[in-house]
Symmetry: C2
DNA sequence: CCAAAAGTGTTTGCTCTACACCCATGG
DNA sequence: CCATGGGTGTAGAGCAAACACTTTTGG
């Protein structure tokens, strides 16, 4: 039999169906962190410093601590590898095919995360990363492990969330124009939307308010909006797949 | 350092960021298997033979094999513990709080499953179970571990699936009356539906066909329907959260 | 013939879609 | 003054909800 019961924090002596009777896989968390900047839907990747796949781009993530909740591990790994904190986080899916990692059996619990472009502190590479970068979701480099598949899955989830909830605001800065918001929807859903219908629908939900400020650009200035505090609380509480 | 790399099927020698450097949790799969019988939404439970929680009711499940896909492990455990095979199966959520199992760190990947009442062979207790039984979801006994929470989560997912897909048929026998189908929706969604609107909507989808047979009961006989083969394939392929 | 479940249409309001022109500013 | 994106309303179609009575059988 391989391994031993390795949790010092728990006391019950192991009885008949002993954990030690079963080989144990390694378990990691990986994060798909989205943001929206310069008209692109972007995902955060790190360049791996170590084998396997040293030098390849991969999702931030790592091994769970033996006394750590899964979501805590996800938040910790993100912070350690990139310096980013306080993002919207929810569990995505668990990927566990036996051959997904050349080192052995590694099961990964993938998390889905969103950060606004303006709250996004400059990502900086942590210990396990040579570099970090934001990549356009529709133009990704070759990825380590099955991370391409994980990102595809996360993009589907994001589309779904945008169609059925108002979580789009998490991707944008605090203030934004309606055209910017529409652009988020168009880029994520990959379809063109009618301007008048989009505005009517989004305003009818009563979750936006004018900030009173204007964005000055090359031409006619646009009114700036923000999501109301009430709407933000409501959406965060809702989480249809917590 | 605890443990060793324990996957004999894979060959790459472990390089720098070694799996052996991290303590490994145990990983199990648990299944929430639903069916619908006698007007009740029911879930399959087994009575545990071993500690911890010996004698308590729990979800069928067990440790994953080290070379086994997660979904395969779920199907295998279900078969071993109950003799049931060939069910609709999809991943539900991964529960991994550090204190959810008194034996130590055990992460469980929960699966969501549905079987028709008629295909359901008599469940028989396997090696790890003293007994098995179908329980009304709305009248459950005390459950082992965090299995109550897992079932709640699965019921939410089932409601969701019924509202947005036509997966209700998986819960019923091959032939059923429209009133029986409506009753599935009412019991799962916990709301009363209008008979005429329900029938119109479900028939408009074009996924049902008359079998030509009738169900004779106490009173006026009801026409029997089945789902068309095309509709079944379509729904299985769709899986919005695969 | 009575009890009980099966079966059947219409009206109304709401939501979604398609669609085109004027406005305000910077250069 | 012109180029550019910002901003606005309406008509028609399709969908969802409310609502009550007749039919068929078993006992």
């Amino acid at each position: 039999m391989l391994g031993t019961v390795n949790d010092p924090a728990l006391s019950t002596p192991a009885p008949s169906s002993n954990l030690a009777d079963y080989p144990r896989p390694s378990v990691t968390v990986d994060l798909v962190l989205f943001t929206f900047a310069e008209g692109e839907l972007r995902v955060l990747l790190i360049k791996r410093k170590h084998e396997p796949y040293a030098g390849a781009w991969a999702l931030p993530g790592g091994f769970i601590g033996i006394d750590e909740k899964l979501e805590e591990a996800a938040a910790r790994e993100l912070y350690e590898e990139t310096g980013i904190r306080d993002v919207y986080l929810e569990q995505l899916y668990t990927f566990g095919d036996p051959d997904r990692d050349p080192r052995g059996r590694v099961i990964t619990v993938a998390y889905f995360a969103i950060v606004s472009a303006d709250l996004m502190p400059e990502a900086h590479a942590g210990d396990d990363a040579e570099d970090t970068g934001w990549f356009n979701v529709y133009a990704l480099p070759q990825l380590a492990f099955d991370h391409g598949r994980i990102i595809n899955y996360a993009v589907q989830r994001l589309r779904y969330k945008l169609e059925y909830t108002a979580l789009g605001f998490l991707l944008l800065p605090e203030e934004f124009t309606l055209s910017e918001l529409q652009s988020v929807y168009e880029v994520v859903l990959q379809e063109k939307l009618d301007k008048r219908n989009f505005r009517r629908k989004i305003l009818a939900q009563g979750i936006l308010e004018k900030t009173g400020r204007l964005r000055y650009g090359d031409h006619r200035p646009a009114k700036l909006y923000r999501f109301t505090a009430a709407a933000i609380e409501l959406e965060k509480a809702r989480r249809r797949f917590p």
